[in-house]
Amino acid sequence: MDLYVHPRFEVLRSEKKCICCRVCERQCANGAHGYDESAGTMESYDEKCVNCHRCVALCPTKALKIAETSHSFRQNANWSGHTIQELYLQANTGGVLLSSMGNPRPLPSYFDRILLNASQVTNPSIDPLREPMETRTFLGKKNQTVTRDTRGRLKDNMGAQLELRAPIMFSAMSLGSISYNAHASLANAARELGIFYNCGEGGLHKDFYKYGPNTIVQVASGRFGVHQPYLMAGAAVEIKMGQGAKPGIGGHLPGHKNMGQIAATRMTPEGSDAISPAPHHDIYSIEDLRQLVYSLKEATGNTKPIIVKIAAVHNVAAIASGVARSGADIIAIDGFRGGTGAAPTRIRDNVGIPIELALASVDQKLRDEGIRSDVSLVVGGSIRSSTDWVKAIALGADACYIATGALLALGCHLCRSCHTNLCNWGIATQRPDLVRRLNPEIGAEHLVNLIKAWQHELREIMGGMGINSVEALRGNRLMLRGVGMTREELDILGIKHAGL
């Protein structure tokens, strides 16, 4: 007999309010609601609930809420109830624990302990409602020698660059891990915002080629869906070396999500697990990476900047310095809080380092070596608000990548069950009836609203600092102060403590 695992959540239904309309039953793909024909009452199956709030949001009489169970084990500071239950699960199944989205553990957030500056007296703040406040950003190499034509005029010899209306992009989420409608929302929003979305490692659906000028196409170790027209379709090509949620292992698309158009776009057999190898089998060292970078440049006729995405691991500064010398135009760094559609829980929760520290040390290292202009830096791995974004830029990022935040704008409730294909919000699922729940037009509108709101806040904060162009914020660490940090933390971040 299996060890007993108590349900994590309780579905609480107010008998008084419920009118037995059975909406919740139809909405819950997890089957946590049922109807007892004979008694004429609703039933709940707590063990199936993942706390995604779909039923709660759609119940017409607001009769539902979900609570974390109060059922408890005997108090033990070392063995939490959660840990015990996970152990039971493994004893029952012999399997690796799987989960999705970002690391939920209560580890320190450095962003939360960094405070921003504003002008007073000695220099004026700038009013973003009255003065231009510039956020346009170019990503790519900026180390070319100055050249002139025969008439002595400066020549633009900078090669391919990504031009962003604001320094933010949607980071890689493959078609397969998320739905067609989610991709359509991201692509549309990116186009409207003058930024980029990243199609991830599952190839590019034929319907989305038209968004090419706002698309970054990815090449990962599985090489799913990679061919010449694919490489040429996007504005940039990203080589995925690692991902913050699961450094050291490749992408996982469970077979039940790899169906129909998804499998066709990936060029894989339907229903087969699409597992990217942990390493790229043609990259066992930095010189191999260089070859891939240059192969991709050649394949695209030098018309696309090449991004190399790495996970923030212990030695990230030295790794980034190697990548910067490998011909990459842009380095994307993904912090340990970054999300995923499916990852082994233990890896997600224990491997990698915070993006704030990774970014600060990479930026400084590249400067110490005089090669910071050889690459642009893009960081992701839990940029949750405009202030995380501002702080990342002031620490030295050229732009930020967001993914979890973008999914939240599409309706995600962070239930962390993306790997089950049962996303009730139509995002991380391929079941047609569920995918239909996400309207791509409304999705795009929410994404556009979110980024516009953040842009307003960015402008407001920059204006307060007396900065009217985002280039002057980039790497401007004097605008940051730490609170409650040790000397060592401050040194790594390259900032002063508040009060100094």
């Binding site: 000695t122 003065e131 346009r136 900065i467 162009s469 280039e471 002057a472 914020l473 980039r474 790497g475």
Partner: protein, 359 residues
């Protein structure tokens, strides 16, 4: 107490400049009177001047002006100089006692040429070699500070009101075709002489009024190219920006100004195609050297002077033309003080450089 350079001190200021296009050499007394009328824009914690064409007897030698804390520092520094340069002439810079100026350091001047074999061995250009030595002394030799290192020009500065500083250095005994002046209003300062302005590097000198908000972005970019910000001042950062763009990258001064005070994208958008490409290229390539926040500067260099204000015009600057003379100052009164009959007085547009050079 921490010295300037160990702590970053914001300040307000007065600046002034006068230039003779025909190269007529003007005694330093005029510029003193010009900066003096703006007395209230300084607070007695720093004043200084730069004069060009003032050493006609040694026009081809690098004139180093140095502050020393004591004779030991001086000995160390002179050892350093002797190993790298032939010293054609040296001596104390003549000064007069002025009641308000006290605690002066030892102030010396050297006329130098790099030793040819040392220069060859360094594999640097002459200018690189000289500026490297100047920056190294400031960084490495305790109690020694090079505050002027150009040819046929000199910076003179001290802790005090600028007019007192000018008299202290007896500027009316020098004559030059170009003068700039600075009076400082630091919000707090240890009153260290090296922290006064102008800031000089080779023949570049900068006087600046403002507090730039892009300072750390600019500084951290420049540090990649060996510019160590030993004073942590805006003026130092601005001087290095000009040195990097103009001398090292070969941009013209107009191009340099277009990087530092780039037009807004909304303006660039409406320009003719070739101009649009020009500005877009500069912003793309040198965005890290965009300067934001209030500033107005007078940049002196061999044979010319450039005036530049920030792209929102957050700091005052007035220019004037009268015959062969060009004037610039934070306030018009500073120009009228030395040229009462002037008619042609105007304020340059935001971000637009005014460049005057010897005819």
């Amino acid at each position: 107490m921490l010295k300037e350079g160990q702590v970053r001190i914001p300040s307000g200021c007065a600046i002034a400049g006068v230039f003779s296009r025909s190269g007529e050499r003007m005694p330093g007394g005029d510029i003193i009177r010009s900066i003096e009328v703006m007395h209230d824009r300084s607070n007695g914690l720093g004043g200084g001047f730069a004069g060009y064409g003032i050493y006609p007897e040694f026009p081809d030698y690098y004139a180093f002006h140095l502050f020393y804390d004591d004779p030991v520092c001086q000995r160390n520094c002179e050892n350093y100089l002797e190993r790298r340069f032939s010293i054609i002439s040296f001596g104390e810079i003549p000064t007069t006692k002025v009641p308000s100026i006290m605690d002066e350091p030892l102030i010396y001047r050297y006329f130098l040429l790099p030793l040819p074999d040392k220069l060859r061995a360094s594999q640097r250009s002459v200018e690189e070699y000289v500026s490297h030595c100047a920056l190294s002394i400031n960084e490495k030799i305790d109690g020694a500070f090079v505050f002027s290192s150009g040819k046929n020009m000199g910076v003179f500065k001290a802790s005090g009101f600028p007019e007192d500083v000018g008299r202290f250095y007896r500027l009316d005994t020098y004559a030059g075709y170009s003068w700039t002046a600075h009076g400082r209003y630091p919000t707090n300062t240890p009153g260290w002489w090296g922290g006064a302005h102008p800031f000089g590097l080779l023949d570049l000198s900068v006087v600046h009024n403002g507090e730039i908000s892009s300072y750390d972005a600019n500084r951290r970019f420049l540090e990649m190219f060996g510019y160590k910000h030993s004073l942590q001042t805006d003026t130092e950062a601005i001087t290095y920006i000009v040195d990097y763009l103009h001398r090292k990258m070969g941009l013209s001064l107009q191009e340099t100004a277009d990087v530092m005070a780039a037009p807004f994208w909304v303006s660039i958008k409406n320009l003719p195609a070739d101009q649009r490409e020009y500005y877009t290229y500069l912003r793309k390539r040198f965005g890290s050297l965009l300067v934001t926040g209030p500033f107005s500067i007078i940049l002196g260099y061999a044979g010319g002077m450039m005036i530049l204000g920030d792209r929102l015009k957050l700091r005052s600057m007035v220019c004037g033309d009268h015959g062969d003379r060009f004037y610039a100052a934070s306030e018009e009164c500073a120009i009228r003080a030395i040229c009462p009959e002037i008619e042609d007085v105007w304020s340059p547009d935001a971000g637009q450089p005014v460049i005057v050079e010897l005819a």
